[in-house]
């Protein structure tokens, strides 16, 4: 009841504020997904109100957005969440943004090669919209903009981990750490909140005639914990722990006629992998990730987008559980008709190692500019792998979204 009053209060406040100089926007969406197999249980059922507020005084401005969510499957997600809240100052040659914000890097779609500033929310795996998967981070982003290039420095004082599905979530990851012994899962060790444990990133971006280039570095923590094993007598203790990670990356965009070639390369130093011969079943190695993609705009509102990515563990050890090379390809085809009010899209992910597939077929119909109806199917296929392990989660879904 308290929550209801809080939501009504917030709505009232925002409606009042929207009558003043404040810009107030947002949307209401409701999303429901039913499993195609078994007893056709709901994989997701949630309704959300998103409020966004912007106010500007000369060169300074502030922006905030929040979600008020009712989730029928994941009860913990019901409630009000502050999504972004930041203050920005824009000068002629620089700008600064301070607060909780979403920062996006990279040229790839649906892949994390260089887009690693914001951790991921995988509560519903990757079936959510891309913008819902990124978790906002408390940070200071400063950009020096002399004209010939953009220089960006980001400081993240507090570590934030990625969110994985847990408990009764239909998207819960199957237990990968089964042993013959009794297993005890310990509390995850996260870095303490101190200046030494903060994260810092830098990036130089060049937007030139005929090509975009970017070079970046990040002194960060691994957003997903490493599971260290320790066996004492007949009990195996599993200790999840986040570790420091150093990253260097490069991005490129090159338009050629009707095509745009996109590429990313990232080098991760000292990333942990599961090594069956090591005492604690982990070992750290360097990782090289690369992606090349092509977008084709043949006209008539068709878009074709293909991506190929490969992760390669350097100085590979045969006892590693992960393959030395891990390859993934995506193909996205979309077509708009009826004056761009009806869009068909098909995004397919294919994992080469496990030969598993995730295929999302979707339709987006704009009843009006404000009201969109969506429906689609998510098909998972394969016995193992990132997508194959969700084979039983193939689902049909619909969504209604009203923007204001």
């Amino acid at each position: 009841m308290k929550k209801l009053f809080l939501i009504i209060g917030l709505l009232g406040t925002f409606l009042y504020l929207s009558a003043s100089d404040l810009e107030f926007n947002g949307f209401i969406d409701t999303y429901h997904a039913v499993c195609l197999k078994g007893e056709h249980e709901f994989n997701a059922s949630r309704t959300r109100f998103r409020g966004e507020m912007f106010y500007q005084i000369e060169e300074a401005s502030f922006f905030t957005s929040f979600n008020a969510t009712s989730n029928n499957i994941l009860k913990d997600e019901t409630g009000i969440e502050l999504r972004e809240a930041f203050i920005e100052y824009v000068a002629s040659k620089w700008d600064i943004r301070v607060g909780r914000q979403i920062i996006t890097w990279g040229k790839a779609d649906g892949m994390q090669i260089t887009d690693i500033i914001c951790p991921g929310d995988y509560t519903e795996f990757i079936t959510r919209d891309f913008d819902d998967i990124r978790i906002p981070v408390e940070s200071v982003k400063f950009r020096w903009l002399p004209g010939f290039a953009d220089f960006e420095i980001i400081w993240l004082p507090f570590f934030k981990a990625s969110v994985l599905p847990s408990k009764d979530n239909p998207w819960k990851i199957s237990q990968a750490y089964q042993t013959d012994n009794e297993t005890v899962f310990k509390q995850t060790i996260e870095p303490e909140k101190s200046l030494e444990n903060s994260e810092i990133a830098g990036k130089i971006s060049l937007y030139l005639s005929g090509i975009d280039l970017a070079f970046s570095g990040f002194y960060t923590w691994n957003d997903l914990p490493t599971i260290h094993e320790q066996t004492v007598n007949d009990t195996t203790y599993l200790q999840p722990e986040h570790h420091r990670l150093k990253y260097l990356g490069m991005e490129m965009n090159k338009p050629i006629g009707d095509f745009v070639v996109r590429s990313e390369i990232a080098f991760y130093q000292n990333k942990f992998f599961r090594n069956l011969s090591a005492d604690d079943k982990t070992d750290k190695k360097d990782l090289l990730k690369a992606m090349i993609g092509v977008d084709w705009y043949p006209g008539d509102d068709w878009t074709f987008s293909f991506q190929f990515a490969n992760d390669m563990i350097l100085k590979y050890d045969d006892d590693f559980e992960t393959d030395e090379n891990n390859s993934l390809a995506t193909l996205n085809i979309s077509k708009k008709i009826l004056r761009q009010t009806l869009e068909f899209s098909n995004m397919i992910y294919y994992g080469f190692n496990e030969k598993d597939i995730y295929d999302q077929i979707a339709i987006d119909y704009a009843v009006t500019d404000e009201l969109h109806l969506f429906c689609g199917v998510d098909i998972f296929a394969g016995d193992e792998g990132y997508f194959g392990s969700y084979e039983d989660n193939s689902q049909i879904w619909f969504k209604v979204k009203y923007s204001f």
């Binding site: 700008d95 990124r134 005639s209 338009p255 006629g257 043949p298 004056r339 761009q340 404000e370 204001f404």
Partner: protein, 260 residues
């Protein structure tokens, strides 16, 4: 008597010279006059786009547009204000006079907080569901078409040149265009677009007034007969020669979702 003869000869000569000048103007010359007429060095426009379907239902988009000339090249940035689902979407374009060089284009999508490089060569795609292609919006160079002066005639009591423009490239969606150019202000006021089957659509440019001493169109109406759809472009607030800063026409500017 001698003076009268001299005067008559002079008048006849002047008329002949003027006539010769008019005849000597080729279709290309006229389109160059249109292209190179003084339209200011930079422009800020609050644009309203009204899409009208065959049942008369309207969809309205509002766009804030800035444009600046860099010699024969130009840069444009557009930020969408309405409808709500595309608010904050930014479009940046660097347009080149050189026919052999594709324009550079970037699109900022606020939901993804991401800038995407898009192809600069798809000039035939319709812009935001309207009846205007990127080419129709003014992104076409003079020498991409072969121009022929057909005749001179009055349109709405204004003397116009009528020019036929045929695209040089084979894959263009238009077979030809017939353009009416007002002679006094050197502006196109009507364009008929033809495909192989006949007339596709007609553009009427109206409400031409001076803004800061420069002749400027305030309304464009595209009647797409082939698809029974219409688009009205209204330029509600126009400012010219405001000395717009170069840093407005950058990716870092559209990444903010609004221009400051």
């Amino acid at each position: 008597m001698k003076k009268v003869i001299v005067l008559i000869v002079m008048i006849v000569t002047i008329f002949q010279v003027v006539k010769l000048q008019a005849i000597e103007l080729s279709g290309r010359d006229i389109m160059v006059l249109v292209d190179e007429r003084d339209d200011g060095n930079d422009r800020r426009v609050e644009m309203e786009m009204i899409l009208i379907n065959k049942r008369g239902r309207k969809r309205i988009r509002q766009v804030l547009s800035y444009n600046k000339d860099y010699g024969k090249d130009s840069k444009t940035v557009m930020i969408f204000q309405k409808p709500a689902d595309v608010k904050g979407t930014g479009f940046l374009s660097w347009e080149y006079d050189d026919n052999n060089k594709d324009d550079d284009r970037w699109l900022y999508m606020p939901a993804l907080k991401k800038v995407r490089r898009i192809s600069g060569s798809s000039e035939n795609d319709y812009f935001m569901g309207s009846d205007f292609t990127y080419d129709d919006m003014g992104g076409r160079n003079v020498d991409e078409d072969t121009h022929t002066l057909l005749r001179e005639e009055e349109l709405n009591e204004q003397l116009c040149w009528v020019v036929e423009s045929i695209p040089k490239e084979k894959d263009n969606m238009y077979a030809k265009k017939i353009v009416w150019v007002r002679q006094d202000v050197k502006m196109s006021v009507k364009v008929e677009y033809y495909d192989k089957l006949g007339l596709m659509k007609t553009l009427t440019i109206s409400n031409i007034k001076q803004v800061d001493g420069i002749w400027t169109a305030h309304e464009m109406f595209m009647d797409n007969k082939a698809e029974k759809h219409q688009t009205v472009l209204k330029f509600n607030k126009i400012n010219i020669n405001q000395d717009l800063k170069d840093n407005m026409f950058t990716v870092s500017a559209i990444e903010r979702g609004r221009l400051k």
